[in-house]
Amino acid sequence: MFDFTSVIPSIPYILEGIGITLQIVIFATIIGVVLGILLALCKIGTIWPLKWFAEFYTSIFRGTPLVLQLMIMYYAMPQILGFNIEVMPAAIIAFGLNSAAYISEIIRAGINAVDKGQQEAAKALGIPYAKMMRDIILPQAMKNIMPSLMNEFITLNKESAIVTVIGALDIMRRAYVVGGATFRYLEPLLIAGVIYYVMTLVLTFLGKMIEKRMRRSD
């Protein structure tokens, strides 16, 4: 049933996909975190148009399939923009915008979980809102946020496999290509599975390390 001999020469080719997957996941996470923080601040703020926009944004991106968002970004946006988008930027932007919606909810919950007394103490010292958020509230919220954020990061790492539909040469796509070339799908797909699993284990471990570091002040 198993015959890895014909697939072995293709293993390095599949492994190269790790770089592509990581690029998508890392850049998308950066976009997701930055945008997620901004959206979360809009949600907890008192300026209603921003609040409304952030809620609407989240609802749209959580309420439609990711694969649809990805295909709109890659196939449909050029119709609006008048120029083509490369696969990688399209994947990174689509994933970034999507995870921003989820991350903003995680961050909103994390900020709300910080003791209200912290804001009062900061106010009483005359600390302006922006500095208070940046230096006092968000660092503490991060501790509440980190486990869920890591979870989101891991989910994103696995879900990134759907970029294969727009032809990005990630782990998934490469395994599929090798399957097509050798007429054996089981082995390359199993290899892809192992790679994703190991990546998840590594990310989980990193997450635990970061959480441990952040608990320093407890």
């Binding site: 003791d115 007394g117 912290q118 009062e120 103490a121 106010k123 009483a124 010292l125 005359g126 600390i127 302006p128 500095k131 230096d135 006092i136 660092p139 503490q140 501790k143 320093r216 002040s217 407890d218």
Partner: protein
């Protein structure tokens, strides 16, 4: 130095402060006393606008506090909370120097020197690099006092500073506050510590049901209170 004029505060239908007026002079130590729910904490929190007054004016050093100048005025109003509210992710020293450096723009070296002086005064210099969670309640509150003092305020507001402490730690915090009072700091203290109020305060404000019922010296207040309500209250607590 602080003038409160006809201060009202309403939460929904619940009127917590029903028109309080008083004046606090420089270097005065005021103890605000009253049964729970009398509005004494709300009164204190209205002074630095942690609560927005429904109506009435508060003047600090000649400036009426408005939404616009409140941040500036707060720099001069140190506040100590019942539950300390130290920044848990910063060390004791970082707690003390953050606002002076980031809000007042004092150089870091100078802020550290000042912070160390203050920590020495509250007897906690050896804890400068500890995180707040490693401190006892009494130590946390002394750090919180030092943190407020680091801004070099002209007035210190205390909101039940010993109410969350274990009994054996109350003394060390009161001692720091007494030193501060003796050094000439203007202080407004919401407290349940009658002994402390009697000993340290220049004036007692007795609040009941959102009204300032009595404004007198400690001797007067504790020996011959004018109002029936103050008498009843003292009968219960003493």
């Amino acid at each position: 130095m602080i003038k409160v004029e006809n201060l009202h505060k309403t939460y929904g239908k619940n009127e917590v402060l029903k028109g309080i007026s008083t004046e606090i002079k420089e270097k005065e130590v005021i103890a605000v006393i009253g049964p729970s729910g009398s509005g004494k904490s709300t009164f204190l929190r209205c002074i630095n606008r942690l609560e927005e007054p429904t109506s009435g004016d508060i003047t600090v050093d000649g400036t009426v506090i408005t939404e616009k100048n409140v941040m500036k005025v707060r720099e001069n109003l140190g506040m100590v909370f019942q539950h300390f509210h130290l920044f848990p992710h910063k060390t004791v020293l970082e707690n003390l120097i953050y606002a002076p450096v980031k809000v007042k723009g004092i150089s870091k070296e100078e802020a550290i020197k000042e912070a160390e002086n203050l920590l020495e005064k509250v007897g906690l210099l050896e804890k400068r690099d500890e995180y707040p969670n490693r401190l006892s309640g009494g130590q946390k509150q002394r750090v919180a006092i030092a943190r407020a003092l680091a801004m070099n305020p002209t007035v210190m507001l205390f909101d039940e500073p010993t109410s969350a402490l274990d009994p054996e730690m109350v003394k060390e915090v009161l001692a720091v506050m007494k030193d501060l009072a003796e050094s000439g700091m203007t202080m407004i203290i919401v407290t349940h510590e009658m002994g402390f109020a009697k000993e340290v305060a220049d004036r007692i404000l007795f609040l009941e049901d959102g009204k300032l019922v009595e404004d007198s010296t400690p001797e007067e207040f504790f020996t011959s209170p004018k109002s029936e309500r103050a008498k009843e209250f003292l009968d219960k607590v003493l």
